[in-house]
Amino acid sequence: MQQEFIPVLIQIVIATGFAVATLIASVLLGKRAKRNQMKDSAYECGMLPIGEGQARFSVKFYLVAMLFVLFDIEVVFLYPWAVSFKRLAVDGGQLVVFFSALSFIVILFVAYLYALRKGALEWKD
């Protein structure tokens, strides 16, 4: 079984080797960069740079994105459940299957109520 992985190994070696080789080549063959502080600073169309390079974002973007991801995944999980409901619900198991999914939704609903009340979805400051 191990023999089948040899091509993979060769591929890894070639890929890594190529990357490393080109980097080394550029270091050896290229000119030494003459760097000074002026040349290294950010270019802002001739104006002097002010402020931080990376501006801070308000956390509200992050909150909305997190909540979106969570509820999106909830929907994603409901999809295979819905598709295989018929097969799962055999011989009177319908109630169990239904209430399992319902409890999942209820838990996330409680989380939603909590987030709503705590102002996680408020957009203004």
């Binding site: 838990i107 409680v110 989380a111 109520l113 909590y114 009340r117 705590k118």
Partner: protein, 494 residues
Amino acid sequence: MPAYALEIIVFSLGLVLLLVDAFAKLEDKRSLAWLGMLGLVVVFGLLFKVEPRAADDANVFWRFYSDSRMSLFFKGIAILSTILVLAMAIDYRGLIEKFTAPAEKKAHPQAGLGEFFALPVFACAGLMCMASATNLVSIFVSLEAVTITFYVMVAYMRRNVGSLEAGVKYLILGALSTGFLVYGFAWLYGITGSMDLAEIGAALKSGDVSPTAALFAFSLILVALGFKVGAVPFQMWIPDVYQGAPTPITAFLSVGSKAAGFIVLLRLSAVFLGSEAVAGQVAMAFAVVAGLTLIVGNLTAIPQSNFKRLLAYSSIAHAGFLLTALAAAPRKLEAGQLSSATVVAFYLGAYLLMTLLAFLVVGLVRVHRDSEEIEAYRGLGKSSPFLALALLIAMASLAGVPLTAGFFGKFFVFQLAIQGGHWWLVTLAAIGAGAGFYYYLKVVAAMYWDDPTGAAAKAAAIPVSALTRAAVVTLIVLIVIAGFAPRMILGLIG
């Protein structure tokens, strides 16, 4: 009632706490903590009323979930630690309020406190699930549930740099270890074809599985779980995370997270130790890790001057003792002998009592003396004799002075190791225990020998609430009784 009803109740309790916090207009959010504690006390009582499942119950659910005596014991550990953590959190609330939202922006003077009381309850539910998990999937899900809750709790004091740093470190390293765990589980599934621990055990025993692959899977899992319990060389996160996190959370990590990590480790190692082909190397791996942990944990604790950090290193040392019990697991259990799992469970039960007692005092001193250095404990014997006595008993028990619960824990570990003939481990454990005498008594010396310096010299006695006083007295009594009659704890393990 079936055992899984307990987790459902605890989880619902957590949800109720969140809803009450969000919707009810509470004057004093401490009532949330009280509600949580009362709920958990009820659940603890229900723990004794659990009916074991019927022998012929073939529901698939029981492949994922076990309600053995051992699982119930670890659930009890989880519930008790959560109750005491909530009690500690009540005392610690001033610092939480100070380090969460800035004063101008708060809707309520105690904003941010409600969740601090609710999160431990969720972690408790996760710990209880971990105690019962017998399938790789349920182990992983409950482990992640607990770990993620802890990420939040550790970084809870977001205006405090230490807490944030601790949270980030825990998150990064925890995520890395989760990666190792998943990879290990994937390997294990790949070579045995099943996620169920019983079936995996059978497959490994049968000999169809390549030992190299099994060992590789084991080493990955050992890395991940070693991280969780604080084994060397995966222990680097513990001192910084324990020191930075809020004190109740440190206590919770130290007891609850470690206990859960060990029950999972016990279950998984039983699977590997049952297979003839790999049992020898697995035991050897445990022995090496245990030996390293004993040395590093105990020796690095000696120079510490920050008491919370010292307790962090000492928890690494205790993990070393627990791993020794695992490494010395007897091949064949004779009648009248304690099994490795029972010794680990007993040790963790005793560890819960003494660690939570110590942290109760540490939290109070942090709040009222504003410091975690050993210097802050100087003269505590004179100014607050009750707390000093409590900390003295906790330190004596942690060091392993006889007639306390901690001694029996170490005694059983020594006994297992000597029975198995692991004399190197016994020597290292003895050196470690000897070092423990020094660093645990350092704070006792500061409390009783020295006079208070600086601000503490003029400070009054530290006020102790009735709840904390009751908790401290109960823990002291339990530690001493268990030191005489280990049957108190062993009887619960079954």
